[in-house]
Symmetry: C2
Subunit: 339 residues, 2 copies
DNA sequence: TTGAAAGCGCTAACAG
DNA sequence: CTGTTAGCGCTTTCAA
């Protein structure tokens, strides 16, 4: 049986409150009493029951983590474990723990309710910007990773995705490419709309005219019917010589899709993508990819919620983490012979 | 302000106990009262405070997850997120939540203590067999993923690693290879000692003599000094033509190490490895790799702890999950011309 | 079928 | 500096 504060109090011949004070380095206790009690507590293997503490102070040292959509599924993409690493690092530095909200099958809305209603968490971090709206009335301090639609009224940490999109595109342009396709656009996801904006910006800054039909969804990689659409784009006389992909996985898919119609990467088409995954790193050719620093995203997000929980003043509503391109072989200089 | 059981009781004109019964489908309450109260509770947005409940019932719906060593670091290897997925899937099916123990910098021993002492968890799953010893006196039902030294006296889910090692080796032998190196052995890790045993078994079953100097640690990949040792092995006249690697990462490292001395994979050396990672899948050549089903490992482990927590009878001490080879290009038939 | 009372383990005034 | 008291929100005998 685990010993309680009363046991220790009795053994030490003092009152429970004294033990409580000793355990929390409360100043209202003598040095010697404190030492004596702590030693005794140690000996008896006493550890304050957090459950009871939380009940009275109305706060826990737990932050809930909410994964997007089908919960556990998202962990399949390497972005999430990396974010989790960062979250964990910050949490452990500040001696907090993380409770995972993975309500299989149900919406993240439910996941959030579960987490909060349970009373276990004193803060939340949402791993999907799409759930951002929920952040507003979650009932506990909440920060979302990514940029939700309601971003001005909530706390979030994100990359400057329009700038990232611009830089990725610009990189290709620097390489001499002027026929640029954007693959993986989905207006549902702010990340992609932001990056697309950056893409358009880069085009404009370089006097390249924007072609609406060269902004395509990732669905174009899915099956033969859809690939046909993609292929038709690359069979035009003036075909894209460079592609900006929203994710390494798409770049990988694209590479093989292209090879099916006899186009090679980077020989015929240069590719720049996002997320700098291991798969992309070992892909053939190795992918030039934008690293968005998922680890730091998590790290900053956790520190932000904790600041909020601690009611620190002036916590900024948005923190932007830097990104950088990992330069590898999938994007090379444009050559006439590309045609 | 969140409403408490008392608020609801007052509003319904009944006692708190009645509300409590209504919320938990206790039979000692009339159907109509139950309906009325639940409706009211819903309307008032009342959710029982789990903290308070746990305090009185002495159990929570939370399982602690302990990562090996430097906590968050381990998430860097794709094996762990996949295990986590499986854990999450089972946990969510049975309506449990997971608390992550990531005590940065401190041992997993401390991590375990933290988790258990806090009183938050009613069960534990350890993601590293090396921590197995701790499972015995954790104080709550514990299952470990992998095979700890003390495996007979604790609960674990694992692969049959000697068989896996045997099959991997045998695959190379089937391909005609008879000079086989084992890379990544470390007697500290039971996985590798088990797989090595399988390796030896395969050799024996095929009348190949075991060479102690062909069982090498992964350190041989680390730096030039160590690689020299590896290279010397491959510069012998009778060099290995097949290698069994304990992890895809090693297979990748080996490939490039080998290419530095002019040996190619699979042309000169065939490789079979473990863990079937994305990196290996997109590596050049794509890795033939043993998939140990990390997801299922997690899934079964979670179900096992929960069975233990629920005091289900006859929970087996060991559950073995199947594995299977993903056949790809890094291992090909042995040809004389390999020399 | 419902209510009253006691208590889970701990903390936080308020006295002394 | 230390003890007393009350109570966090809920469950659970025990009576009614």
């Amino acid at each position: 049986m685990k010993s309680t504060i009363k046991d220790v109090a009795k053994a030490a011949g003092v009152s429970p409150s004294t033990v409580s004070r000793a355990m929390h380095n409360n100043p209202r206790i003598s040095e010697e009493m404190r030492g004596k009690i702590r030693a005794l507590a140690d000996e008896m293997g006493f550890h304050p029951n957090q459950m009871a503490r939380s009940l009275v102070n109305r706060k826990t040292r737990i932050i809930g983590i909410v994964f997007p959509g089908a919960a556990t599924e998202s962990l399949g993409h390497p972005f999430y474990p990396k974010v989790l690493q960062g979250l964990g690092r910050a949490a452990s530095e500040r001696r907090y723990q993380m409770l995972l909200g993975m309500t299989e099958g149900s919406s993240s809305q439910d996941s959030i309710r579960d987490l909060v209603d349970s009373g276990y968490v004193s803060g939340l971090v949402l791993l999907a910007a799409e759930d951002g709206a929920a952040a507003i009335d979650a009932g506990v301090p909440t920060v979302v990773i990514g940029r939700p639609r309601c971003w001005e009224s909530c706390y979030c940490v994100d990359n400057d995705n329009v700038e990232a999109g611009r830089e990725a595109t610009d990189y290709l342009i620097r390489l001499g490419h002027r026929q640029l396709l954007l693959l993986g656009y989905d207006k549902q996801y702010m990340v992609t709309v932001d990056r697309r904006q950056g893409y358009e910006k880069a085009l404009e800054q370089n006097g390249i005219v924007f072609r609406r039909d060269w902004v395509v969804p990732s669905r174009f990689l899915d099956n033969n019917t859809d690939q046909e659409l993609l292929w038709s784009l690359f069979r035009q006389k003036e075909r894209p010589t460079g592609v900006v992909c929203m994710d390494d996985a798409q770049a990988i898919g694209l590479t093989s899709s292209l090879s099916a119609i006899g186009l090679s990467v980077p020989g015929d088409v240069s590719i720049v993508s996002f997320n700098n995954t291991e798969a992309g790193r070992y892909h053939n050719p190795p992918l030039t990819s934008m690293d968005v620093n998922p680890g730091q995203l998590g790290y900053e997000a956790m520190n932000m919620v904790l600041d909020l929980v601690k009611e620190k003043a002036n916590v900024p509503h948005l923190y932007q983490v830097p990104f950088q391109m990992a330069l590898r072989g999938s994007a090379t200089e444009y050559r006439e012979t590309s045609y």
